[in-house]
Symmetry: D3
Subunit: 117 residues, 6 copies
């Protein structure tokens, strides 16, 4: 059932980002560039920063943001157990209201793992 | 139009719950079991507890959580008027931002009633 | 330590409500009157409605709203155990982020009980 | 890709509003009527009020509410640049978690502009 | 009772901003500068932008942010009625959970008006 | 000015936790114990888990929760720069609405550092 949700998300995201940028003023553009700066390696490695971004998106319950950081965490080499422990913290802090987002997060994670094989 | 949204939701929920559980650690499993404990009969009957869960989900604006508790409220014998009064409290507390969720809640409720006949 | 938090809250609430009403237009006034209508007895008794308002306020994490409904629940004869079960649902749905509000809720509840004796 | 998202939204909204109203009590009906009152011309013109409603919906991250106010802003003659400046404030106040909603907002806006030509 | 809440807020805000800046990295500093850019006159006048910032802060229920924008709205010449209409939209969108914030908003507004005389 | 906010918080937290536990049912008690389990060393070290808890609390804007995790991060040896990078991610994800919480977070952090000397 979950065949291709990651790819689908990436194509739509790309397409709509182009639309946003066509209308964007200087402020919006700077905001987007500041955002990518936040996840660059510093005192903390990018892997940890992506897990921070994931848990922040998780408790704020934004499926697209979660999907984005799930993909990035996968690319940065986060393990199954590290992901599970990070999302368990999100689950405790954010409560059962986050459960539907956990389902979709794990669906994307599972697809990423299967596609890699 | 709304033919089958309840059933569709239940099938997808079931399928993804299995996926979540395949990755879940002990903490996550305990959290899920604690969740079902919260709605068991106690000083308050399950019917009232499900209405509390519904209104909590409603003001936090989670469509899947609302759908789940709408189904449970229906199973526990909540009447049309009881539901309306509970959601009116949610509407007042949460404001017009909850209206799209009210639409989907009533769509699921209406389907449950029609399927029963 | 918690001596008088309920009374303090009620005095300040009263005073500031007068100020809000001094500036309020017709719409705001109607909104306030609609709000009190939501908790009047209907298919559901006021006691249950106040518990619904409490749990909604709890998961949305508004201390003043929680305090208001804690007082109303107390006046409507909610028992210790009924309160505990309702807030446990709020805790599960809303997560650990609600814990500081649970502390203040129980502080107000405890004061109400002690003042009654 | 975005062909018809505005029309689709309007048809579904209409249909589900009828369902909500079929179940609605007096309080819910009054709440809906109070809502439309809030955007009527007063000291502030409707155009500004719709932008206020848009930014409020944007930071609360409700796609349907955003779509509704995007349409209303378009009807009230909000310009591309006015929209961009309003949503940039929303983006700053609400953070990157609002970005997926910005994408959908601009998709609806772009469709409205293309349909008009 | 409300003597000096505006001044108190401004002194504490100033002091803590200095502390934040002492620890701030380049990204945080750019974020703060982008924030002030968002409210500069453009296609929309600063007065309207401050009202947008106020309503965004109001529905997200942040007392300090509301206080800041209430002061800025006052400085930009927003009238009593314009403020009331803007906050009524916030009240409708955000629901009764915003009422405690409305109380504090009007308390600050009332103090600003009295201090001016 | 910030003399003793950490100690004050810890005393009040301790006192109110005792009150919560006096009323707590079995479910609430299990929930609290599950919470402390979430931060125990696993695939991720406690230090990273506390930073995840901090950023989750930060974007959900709960001052008491932030204070708690700021203290724990300090105890786990998080550096100034690591803290700054983690909170910058929170600032980007959560937007300017988190700024008042950033102020209080840095106030507590600064006090912890000064008390240690």
């Amino acid at each position: 059932m979950s065949e291709g949700i990651v790819e689908q998300f990436q194509i739509q995201r790309e397409e709509l980002n182009r639309l946003v940028m066509a209308y964007a003023g200087q402020g919006t553009k700077r905001f987007y560039s500041l955002d990518s700066q936040a996840y660059r390696v510093g005192a903390l490695p990018t892997k940890i920063k992506e897990m921070l971004g994931l848990v922040a998106s998780f408790v704020l319950r934004c499926d697209d943001c979660i999907k984005y950081h799930i993909i990035r965490c996968f690319e940065e080499g986060v393990s199954d157990q590290e992901l599970e422990e990070a999302l368990f913290i999100g689950l405790m802090v954010g409560g059962t209201i986050t459960i539907p987002h956990q389902r979709k997060a794990m669906q994307a994670w599972d697809e990423l793992k299967k596609n890699k094989k």
